[in-house]
């Protein structure tokens, strides 16, 4: 069983925060196939949060095929996220380390690196990135 | 709703009934000791009896005012003051019904309490009231303003009126202390205004014109600065005399003429006996009568006690109805 928390200063919609926390827990191997998520009422009681928000988060997870609700029993995890991508982590990290070293050599301090990363991440993450940009 | 009304008013209601019970107990103990015989009853009264008689009048006069101030005025005003009306009126009972039940039950309880109190006081004073109706005495008749509204059924109507008056003022002012003070002031004003301006006309008074003679004239009043005396006739037993005036031949009210003042021997000096003055006075009165002067008496006869009681009760119940209508109308706009 996992425990949710909410950050009201993040600007991320509360339901998205719940979805992200479930995904994260699955990626990190904290939640496995067959595990039960807390009931809507439990989450509401723990966080003083709107029940519709929790239901919406669970519906979203269900749509993504990560969990399944069983009437009167609860919501259960149906997949394991960690397995597929875990293998790709290592080579990616090695490339990132190389890139960071290159950035430092170019004279970027930590804040500049962070700003550059965040800006690029946002620009590509929104689907705007094209092969041209990379080239 | 009945439960809530009772729960909220039980302390005041209990106090009211305890006070009534205490009064009734005092009256029950002292009542049987009063002399019962009609003749010379006032000579047999002790100062304590007289004090009790007047205390009884004051208690019955004040009781409706207290009901209005302490049960009526805070009924809605305190809710508005504390904001609890928002709790009361958001339950499944309309505020019209809320007020109807609270006002109705309190009116019943207060009317019953004051009714019992009045009954006890009336019973206690019955020998004195009866004597006053038959013979002249030192205590006023029960038809006079001194005791009329503290006997019979009017105190009950006064109580209902005072209660509704308090409620209406409370709704308008929304402050219980201010409403309490204004209720007391207005009610006292009504208590004074009623015998002065309204009660004499509830039933058209009887007018009686009497020939002026030694037999009919009961007294001659001399006033300090005024050389002209006033004549007084003997009214019917137990009547409430509204005016006692000298009128001339055309029926206009006039002062006693100068001719009488010249003729009049004046009040007997300490060294004179009444019998020495009387023959001369008799002549003066006969002259006055011959000149066409009469004495006009306007009064409510003793037999009108109950008709007047009913009329006054009707007036106050009608006023209560109007105020209650206003309260319900105003409550929807609070």
């Amino acid at each position: 069983m996992i425990e949710f928390s909410l950050d009201s200063r993040s600007g991320v919609a509360p339901y998205l925060q719940l979805v992200q926390q479930v995904r994260q827990a699955m990626r990190l191997g904290l939640l496995h196939e067959g595990d039960r998520l807390p009931t809507v009422k439990d989450v509401v009681a723990a966080l003083a949060i709107n029940p519709n928000t929790v239901s919406k988060a669970y519906r979203e997870l269900e749509l993504e095929g990560l969990v399944a609700a069983r009437q009167g029993v609860g919501t259960f995890v149906t997949r394991t996220l960690a397995g597929d991508s875990l293998a790709a982590h290592d080579p990616l990290r090695r490339k990132l380390v190389r890139w960071l070293a290159e950035a430092r050599r170019a004279g970027l301090d930590e804040e500049s690196i962070e700003a550059l990363f965040a800006a690029t991440f946002r620009a590509t993450g929104s689907g705007a990135a094209t092969e041209q940009d990379i080239a | 709703m009945m439960w809530l009304s009772w729960r909220q008013a039980r302390a005041q209601t209990a106090t009211l009934y305890a006070a009534v019970a205490a009064c009734a107990a005092v009256l029950a103990v002292t009542g049987p000791r009063l002399p019962r015989s009609g003749a010379g009853i006032f000579d047999l009264l002790t100062p304590g009896d007289r004090r009790l008689y007047f205390t009884g009048l004051i208690v019955v006069a004040v009781a409706p005012a207290l009901v209005g101030a302490f049960l009526g005025a805070p009924m809605v005003a305190r809710e508005l003051e504390n904001g609890t009306h928002r709790l009361a009126w958001s339950q499944g009972v309309t505020r019209t019904r809320w007020l109807a039940v609270r006002l109705g039950l309190t009116a019943l309880a207060a009317a019953a309490a004051v009714g019992v109190l009045t009954l006890a006081v009336t019973w206690w004073a019955a020998p004195l009231d009866g004597a006053a109706s038959e013979s002249r005495g030192s205590l006023p008749s029960r038809l006079t303003p001194v005791s009329f509204a503290m006997r019979g059924i009017t105190p009950v109507a006064y109580t209902v009126f005072a209660l509704v008056l308090g409620v209406a003022i409370g709704i308008v002012l929304r402050r219980s202390i201010a409403a309490l003070a204004l209720t007391l002031a207005l009610f006292t004003f009504v208590q004074i205004a009623m015998p002065l301006w309204v009660r004499p006309h509830l039933i058209p008074p009887t007018t009686q014109v009497t020939t002026i003679s030694e037999d009919t004239i009961d007294g001659i009043g001399y006033h300090d600065s005024d050389p002209v005396p006033t004549l007084e006739v003997r009214g019917p037993a137990g009547a409430w005399v509204l005016s006692d005036r000298t009128v001339d031949a055309s029926g206009r009210a006039v002062p006693v003429p100068a001719s009488f003042v010249d003729c009049d021997p004046g009040p007997p000096r300490p060294d004179q006996r009444v019998t020495e003055v009387r023959p001369r006075l008799e002549t003066c009165l006969t002259q006055l009568s011959a000149a066409g002067y009469r004495q006009q008496l306007v009064y409510q006869p003793a037999s009108r006690f109950w008709p007047l009681q009913w009329a006054e009760t009707g007036v106050f119940l009608a006023l209560s109805g109007l105020l209650a209508w206003f309260s319900f109308w105003r409550l929807r706009r609070v």
């Binding site: 949060i49 029940p51 519709n52 | 009126w89 309309t94 505020r95």
Partner: protein, 294 residues
Amino acid sequence: MTAVVSAQALGKRYRRRWALTDCTLEIPAGHVTGLVGPNGAGKTTLLNLAAGMLEPTTGTIEVCGGRPAAGPAQLAKVGYVAQDTPVYAGLSVQDHLTLGARLNPRWDAGLARARIAALGLDPAQKAGRLSGGQRAQLALTLGLAKRPELLILDEPVASLDPLARREFLQALMEAVAEDGFSVVLSSHLVADLERVCDHLLVLVDSRVRVAGDVEELLATHHRLTGPRRDPGSLPADQHVVSASSTDVQSTFVVRTDQPIHDPAWTVGRLTLEDVVLAYMSPGAAARPALEAVR
């Protein structure tokens, strides 16, 4: 969308002062709707009108399909926890429960008893001696146990300490999770409402400045920071909510359904409070109200 509260040109005047003028709005059913706005915006007056405590001076208001406080049936549908959560100081906790049971046709005595027990309140305790948090919980119990279709709460947590505030909202949300009734609650603090509300209505000077689902508001509002620019030069699909500029830099809060591509901007996320403040700021006053696109 079915509306649980709908007001048309609603106005309320106290003697000479207008507390609410020409207010037109709809509050959807099945949501926990937060009503925020500065003091004096007319929130309390609006809620008092909805609860039937006041009669409108102009316009109409319909709540759960009926005129507020029109009769016992209408009163039974709407629960109201008024500002400062009034209770009868001289009556005990148990007296309040009896009051609720006697005055409400659909009273749930079991729920009321269970809540009082869970709160650890002594039924014999006089309500006047309860703490602010306990008093608020008692008022909430009265509102919940009458089993309303709509529960209206006016600044219920304003006077409570943070712990009592949290406990109150927890209790409210648990009840909503269980029974699914609609809730309208007002606050001048967005932070109180952020978690519990899924719908938000910002009221400024009797007007709805913005209304919409909380998630949608968060997803469609962005803070753009970049070199100084005229607000008019932004793309047509970006509605400027508030704007501020220095001689070299401009900061805009914009509302748009489209992604923002312009590389000149640093795009920042906004918290709900930021969004509400942007709409409440004087610079936002000139623009007409925006209904959330649904």
